[in-house]
């Protein structure tokens, strides 16, 4: 409660003195454990701000709404550590300029909400490195451990089963801050690489393509699997890919806004001969 009040005041102040043109936060949703995004432009709107342990959605995707940042004014945004990482990735992929972003950092332990010190992504680099070394307990998913224990066939069957339920609504893509492309590869129909109807093969293609596109970029915010109407545990695939990328390339996504995207960069002295 105290954190929420403090942040309401801060947002009002920054809006009043013109430091930011807008703040993106949370407001009550349709049930007591759901939250909606809140776009605060005035002091009154700031009073609707809610900050508690149900504010789990990663809001950073709203920043890349076409035109939002084009006037070069600043925008404030409420973010948990994953959200800060996604800001860094978006900056590294030239989707936004970190100087335009004021971060209202927060996190919670149980139901206890606390503010994170800092305003710009750089202020959180120590925190992010710490997360890299000691990932929070929440990332230790029992289901993931179960999947890890399966053999290749069982694992394939497991995901085949899960993906067969996909209805190609693309809610996962819409919810993910990293899915900012103007046209997604699935929408490309010349040629039609990915089948658009929801049958097993096309579903598998779609979900695997998305997993590849997110590898080295996903921050495990969970927006995707919360958005999925048929409850496919999407985040787990991406979490697994993130581990592959850390193991294979020593790359933990989102540590800084200048970190080179792992799958786009290469080293001339790489011992593999694949490119040069």
């Amino acid at each position: 409660m105290i954190t929420q009040e403090k942040y309401r005041t801060t947002v009002k102040e920054l809006l009043a003195n013109g430091s930011i043109k807008m703040a993106i936060g949370y407001r009550p949703g349709s049930t007591s454990d759901r939250r909606r995004p809140l776009f605060i432009r005035t002091s009154e709107e700031a009073d609707q701000l809610v900050l508690d342990s149900t504010c789990i959605t990663n809001l950073s995707g709203y920043l890349v709404t076409e035109g939002l940042l084009s006037d070069e004014k600043r925008v404030g945004i409420f973010l948990r550590p994953e959200g800060i990482r996604s800001i860094n990735i978006l900056a590294a992929e030239y989707q936004l300029n970190v100087d335009q972003i004021i971060i209202f950092g927060f996190d919670f332990t149980g139901r206890e909400v606390r503010a994170l010190q800092g305003q710009t992504t750089g202020d959180f680099s120590a925190l992010l490195s710490e997360i890299r070394e000691n990932p929070p307990l929440a990332t230790k998913e029992p289901l993931l451990e179960r999947i890890e224990k399966m053999n290749a066939k069982e694992r394939f069957d497991f995901w085949q089963q899960e993906f067969s339920r996909c209805i190609k609504c693309y809610a996962c893509r819409q919810a993910c801050p990293m899915c900012y492309c103007r046209r997604c590869i699935v929408d490309s129909n010349q040629p039609q690489w990915v089948n658009t109807s929801s049958h097993t093969l096309g579903n598998f293609e779609w979900n695997v393509v998305r997993a590849f596109h997110l590898s080295g970029r996903c921050v495990q915010c969970g927006n995707c699997d919360r958005a999925c109407p048929v409850n496919i545990p999407l985040r787990l695939i991406n979490q697994r890919m993130a581990k592959e990328v850390v193991d294979g390339f020593d790359h933990f996504a989102g540590l800084s806004p200048t970190q080179e995207p792992v799958l786009a960069s290469f080293k001339k002295d790489d011992t593999e001969t694949f490119i040069l």
Partner: protein
Amino acid sequence: MAKIGVFICHCGENIAAKVDCTKLAAAMGEHPGVEVSVEYKYFCSDPGQESVKKAIRENNLTGIVIAACSPRMHEATFRKACAEAGLNPYLCEIANIREQCSWVHTDGDMATAKAADIVRSMVEKVKRNNILQPIEVPVTRRALVIGGGIAGLQAALDIANAGQEVVLVEREPSLGGHMAQLSETFPTLDCSQCIMTPRMVETAQHPNIRLLTYAEIESVDGYIGNFKVRVRMKARYVDMNACTGCGDCITKCPVKKISSEFDCGLGKRTAIYTPFAQSVPNMPVIDKASCIYFKNGKCKTCQKSCELNAINFEMQDEFIDLEIGAIVVATGFQVQNTALYGEYGYGKFPDVITGLQFERLASASGPTAGRILRPSDGKEPENVVFIQCAGSRDPSKGVRYCSKICCMYTAKHAMLYAHKVHDGKTHIFYMDIRAAGKGYDEFTRRAIEEDEASYVRGRVSKLWQENGKLMVRGVDTLLGKPVTVAADMVVLATAMVPQPNAKEFAKTIGIAYDEYGFYNEAHLKLRPVESSTAGVFLAGACQSPKDIPDSVAQASATASKVLALFSKEKLEREPVIAVNNEATCAGCWGCVLACPYNAIEKKDIRDRSGKLVKQVAYVNPGLCQGCGTCVSFCRSNSLDLAGFTEKQIFAEVMGL
């Protein structure tokens, strides 16, 4: 509406013996969009090409498929025929039904069915092909030759004598390479230095050649006709403008016991040195690792001795940036590290030496002034054993190939020894005597018949020391008996292997190499002097083991390739380049990083009032090499490769 022509070539019997061409032509004639489907014995022949042109004109074809040999053979031929008939050459596709079908199958029916699949898939592709125009790029008329051995010198001189500019980069302090180390050369026994040094001098004095010694290639960017090369000039600590090569500094240098690389460890040199007396340029360098001043800040004897004040301890490495049109790689070879051969006792017994060391002993300018004296006690050996294939043709040591020169130089060594030590005895252990080449077999015969070299066919299994002799145990496979020879000196004909840094160097330049590190030619038979990268040519032993005549011949061949390139003002390049869809590009710049040729730039898209709307990726057509890396990277599928668009490839796959 597509009107495709399908031309099925028999290639004599090559295709027709397996593939039923009549059946194939009939089947293709039924395929939607195919207007003409015919067969012929040799479409690449003059009448064959004429019939293709005629069919294009008479039927107003919108695309053609030539079902024949590999596109590497005749794609250019048929594209040209297309252009002559008024059809854009990029509307011609080759369906390879020879290498990829008739040659590799035994069952005729199945081969015919497969040929139909291959042709059909190309018909589906060509239906979707677009008109493309070749890209024109300017040519910088300046060649870079890397390596100043005999191959590099020959290439540089040939290009320079034809009136074009050359930059020659040699990493050692002097030109010369291995040939400068040799005594006399097979098959004529003329003195290596005597034929080599005039070339070195001519190169250094040539008005069209810029000589950069003690220099290394730092980076190579760009593409054929337009390379950008950065050269690192290693600090010599001697000002080349001031130094006259008097050598006072060398005489005064107190560090005199450094093992000489040029003499293969048989002689000594100082810390400030030239590799050999006839070095070109004849200006010393300071070997920083051995110099006392660089070790503890005291000495500078050389500086005091130099009247011209040419020595400068503060010198730093410098960089030179060059614009280059063509590159000749002539970086040569090294002899294999003999430490691998425990059984021959190299390194353990001082009188077991390599062939290259023998060259130094036999060389008039060498450490023994041309007398064959064994390293251990400086005595003249009375009995010398030569071991051929010490490394070559030995898969267990990683060299499966034949080094090609060792049979010849071993015969030469036996002769030189016989000429210098009249009552000396030689035994040569060999696997085969390979002496193909002009005057070569005569040469080895001479060693046997006139100079009484005793050839023992078999391998050496063991070598040990006994009563001051080197005991060499082997088998004489012709007699089927073991033999043991007591020798005073043993000479190993060690394998010719790539330079130690050959693979990394290939990556710097961007050329391909084989499993050993020898550089790959574009086509072993038909394009033996071109590397896999356009505008980069290969000369000498960096490509495969070679002797001097072969190295020189290849060097002259590269020169003619370079000159042909320089004979044009502009080059035409295949328009197979990446093209970006600016409407869908998300501007993530992943492709900018991924492109190995730095061909992608950021481009601003502005509205009419000049306001920045967004930034997208732009592929520079002059720089793009069409590798497709960006295409596979782009998540939004915005990039595509002209001539191999995803749509075309998809159709090709679906046509199977």
